[in-house]
């Protein structure tokens, strides 16, 4: 009885294994042989890692849509000769550990040649090391955490060195964003007594600290920083504490789910001062949740307002035509540019008949040399992976909309 049963069990396994090796060798010879004549039905994948569920889902969807649009256009035009591009969007739920798992998945999938995302700097800290190890180009539209490209050294006054060799970003950083908005509120708005609250996340804390330092340097009184937990909904205790010190402005380092409730509860408690936030607050959801309480608040965004840029008009038209339900702002245009940087790098890299790890290495090299006009402006990177385009905009909220108040390139 025993030998036949064993055979029955092992036979399919053996056949399966043989079939797999056969497939493997087929693919191998295929990619080498067909390289010249451009078969057109081989696929390469651009990964997207962003929060697709949870509080930040609306912003994450904008990132995914931007990439999808870029890929669709590239496929229609045949930008990458001989290949069809495909998107693999994975949900990181805005959590670092989930991000790391997603990154490993991308590394294991040999068709992934580049990744756009993640949204959060805290997630990037666990995604970038994994992708860097495998040398997969990663471009984030939104990470403003200083240490991702070694900029914390600049803040400390020493020399910058790059921690992740395949990590890039198309946005300005907190060491620029914080001081930029600090100068605006102290110099332009003339605020003197400023309360600072952050959520202790890499992004929120980094931004709030950079802001507080510059605001103090500009001569404003900065109250002792208060902290909250991401996910909190009841801020009454923190607000009561701040109200007793009668500040004339509140800076919040963090994202809109908490910021919107904070501004709402703050104003309802009778502390009617503007809330100022970074790019994590500049989201349509902020207006929706905070409603009328958001009037007169401020938020910065990385880059110039999408609808004022000549280069962004085409993007916005295409985005609208694609009938996405989620708004492109704040990072749809940036993700579109990030995806295009990867696509253009890919177009050059496949032309050199590279595949597998060689292709991944080549894409990183080509992304480093990116130089084109994107939807958010000129896309090019310095040797640390930071964008050379350090434009920021302060928005104020008027009539339920973000209205640009000041756009400038930080010195």
């Amino acid at each position: 009885m025993h030998p036949p049963r064993l055979l029955r069990l092992t036979a399919p396994l053996l056949i399966g294994a043989l079939a797999l090796t056969a497939c493997g060798s087929n693919k191998e010879s295929g990619s080498k042989g067909e390289g010249g004549d451009g078969g057109g039905n081989k696929t390469l994948t651009i990964g997207v890692v962003a929060p697709l569920t949870g509080d930040l889902a609306a912003v994450g969807a904008g990132i995914k849509n931007g990439v999808e649009l870029a890929i669709k256009q590239a496929n229609d035009k045949g930008t990458v000769k001989g290949y069809t591009l495909k998107m693999d969007a994975q949900d990181d739920t805005a959590k670092a550990d989930v991000g790391a798992t997603v990154a490993s998945k991308f590394v294991a999938d040999s068709s992934v040649v580049g990744v756009v995302g993640p949204l959060n700097s805290s997630v990037a800290k666990s995604v970038a090391p994994v992708l860097s190890q495998a040398n997969i180009a990663e471009i984030s539209p939104s990470n403003s955490g200083v240490d991702l490209t070694g900029r914390e050294a600049l803040v400390a006054g020493s020399t910058q060195s790059r921690p992740y060799k395949s990590y890039f970003r198309v946005c300005a950083t907190d060491d620029i964003q914080g001081p930029f908005v600090a100068q605006y509120v102290v110099k332009t708005l003339g605020k003197k007594k400023i309360a600072v609250v952050h959520d202790k996340k890499a992004y929120g804390q980094g931004l709030a600290e950079a802001f507080a330092k510059e605001a103090a340097a500009q001569g404003a009184t900065v109250l002792k920083t208060e902290t909250i937990n991401p996910g909190d909904k009841d801020f009454s205790a923190t607000i009561t504490k701040l109200k007793a010190q009668s500040p004339d402005l509140l800076f919040y380092g963090g994202e809109y789910p908490e910021a919107s409730l904070l501004t709402k509860q703050m104003k309802a408690s009778g502390l009617k001062i503007p809330l100022v936030g970074g790019d994590g607050v500049q989201a349509a959801e902020y207006l929706k949740i905070a409603g009328a309480s958001a009037e007169g608040d401020y938020a910065t965004a990385l880059g110039a307002p999408t609808d004022t840029l000549e280069s962004a008009k085409q993007f916005l038209t295409d985005y609208t035509a694609a009938k996405y339900t989620e708004p492109a702002d704040p990072y749809g245009a940036g993700s579109y540019d990030a995806a295009n940087a990867i696509i253009q790098a890919l177009a050059k890299a496949v032309g050199e008949n590279k595949s597998g790890q060689e292709l991944r290495d080549e894409v990183v090299k080509e992304v480093q040399d990116s130089d084109f006009e994107g939807a958010t402006g000129k896309i090019s990177f310095d040797k640390f992976g930071d964008t050379n385009n350090k434009v920021l905009t302060v928005y104020t909220i008027k009539g339920g909309k973000f209205v640009p108040a000041k756009t400038d390139s930080f010195k």
């Binding site: 569920t53 949870g54 509080d55 930040l56 889902a57 609306a58 959520d199 202790k200 920083t225 208060e226 902290t227 909250i228 937990n229 996910g231 909190d232 909904k233 009841d234 801020f235 009454s236 205790a237 923190t238 009561t240 504490k241 007793a244 789910p257 409730l261 709402k264 509860q265 104003k267 309802a268 408690s269 009778g270 959801e285 929706k288 949740i289 409603g291």
Partner: protein, 307 residues
């Protein structure tokens, strides 16, 4: 002083929500010794039930009519789910080792969250909740101390709910049967009490109070969220343990204590443990200290009064 009093008010509001939910944990634990971790989700479903009722009402319904209907709608959803949960998830496991229903409760909790997240329209992130009670309307309590309308409503309904429950348990026939079942289920059954019905009653009462808290939460923050039951549920469970799990007055006291600790820690905690981000840490420090000196919680697990 005004500052202290204002924080006191903030703490009482927070504690009222914890207390309302803690009652559900404590009643079920008192009778079947089950820590019903899915109770936080019953609270969340109460909020969503109220929202659904509101959306079903013709627009322009005055708040005075809409609010009671929303409360009833929220309660109907919470109670229905709690009864189904008891019948199909917990009752088959009665008499099984205590770990089995506990794990089941965690499973039910996750299942309910995912159900809302995946099947309730636009519930993947927080959903806006109608602000029928204007949060900008504040009532002065003397000096600089004030309370907003939704917060006042929260305290009022919480106290009404707590008093009603305690009266019910002490005075009504069913309430006394609950106490008897809690003390000794076997003897209670011998005396002719339908213990299955009593256990369902405990779930129903807990769910109804959780629905009150769910509606109050929606009105206070202007949103409901599929995840809102998780952390609040854990806090309410902490409140129940703090007060002495199984003890009804204990759950209320535990709720208010926890709320006050969180708020006062935000205001007065010393560096480097100051600020709102540390409030949960302080809440658990207090829990540990209480449990070290009084392992059965503040009011203890008084067998005679538990139900």
């Amino acid at each position: 002083m005004d500052l202290f009093l204002q924080q006191l008010v903030n703490g009482l509001v927070l504690g009222a929500t914890y207390g309302l939910i803690a009652l559900g944990y404590t009643m079920v634990y008192g009778i079947v010794q089950l820590i019903n971790f899915a109770h936080g989700e019953i609270f969340m479903l109460g909020g969503f039930g109220a929202l659904t009722t509101y959306l079903a009402l013709p627009s322009g319904t005055p708040a005075g009519v809409a609010l009671p209907l929303m409360l009833l709608g929220g309660m109907a959803v919470s109670v229905t789910v709690a009864v189904i949960m008891e019948r199909f998830a917990y009752r088959p496991l009665r008499g099984a080792p205590r770990l089995a229903p506990l794990i089941t409760a965690l499973g039910v909790s996750i299942a309910l969250q995912e159900l809302i997240r995946n099947f309730y329209p636009r519930a993947k992130s927080a959903r806006n909740f109608p602000q029928l009670v204007n949060p900008d309307r504040r009532f002065s309590l003397g000096g600089d101390v004030s309370i907003s309308a939704p917060n006042l409503l929260t305290i009022v309904v919480a106290v009404i709910g707590m008093v009603a429950l305690s009266t019910f348990v002490r005075r009504s026939r069913t309430g006394r049967a609950m106490q008897a079942t809690a003390q000794d289920p076997d003897t209670a059954r011998l005396m002719g009490i339908d213990t299955d019905r009593i256990i369902v009653t405990a779930f129903v009462l807990g769910a109804a109070l959780a629905a009150v808290a769910g509606l109050a939460q929606g009105l206070r923050f202007g949103q409901v969220d599929f995840r809102m039951g998780f952390i609040t549920g854990i806090k309410a469970f902490t409140a129940a343990v703090l007060g002495g799990i199984g003890n009804i007055s204990g759950a209320v006291l535990g709720g208010f204590t926890l709320g006050l600790v969180e708020v006062m820690a935000t205001q007065y905690a010393p560096e480097p443990f100051a600020g709102g981000a540390w409030k949960d840490a302080w809440a658990f420090v207090v829990l540990i200290v209480v449990l070290v000196f009084r392992p059965t919680g503040l009011l203890g697990e008084r067998v005679a009064a538990r139900a």
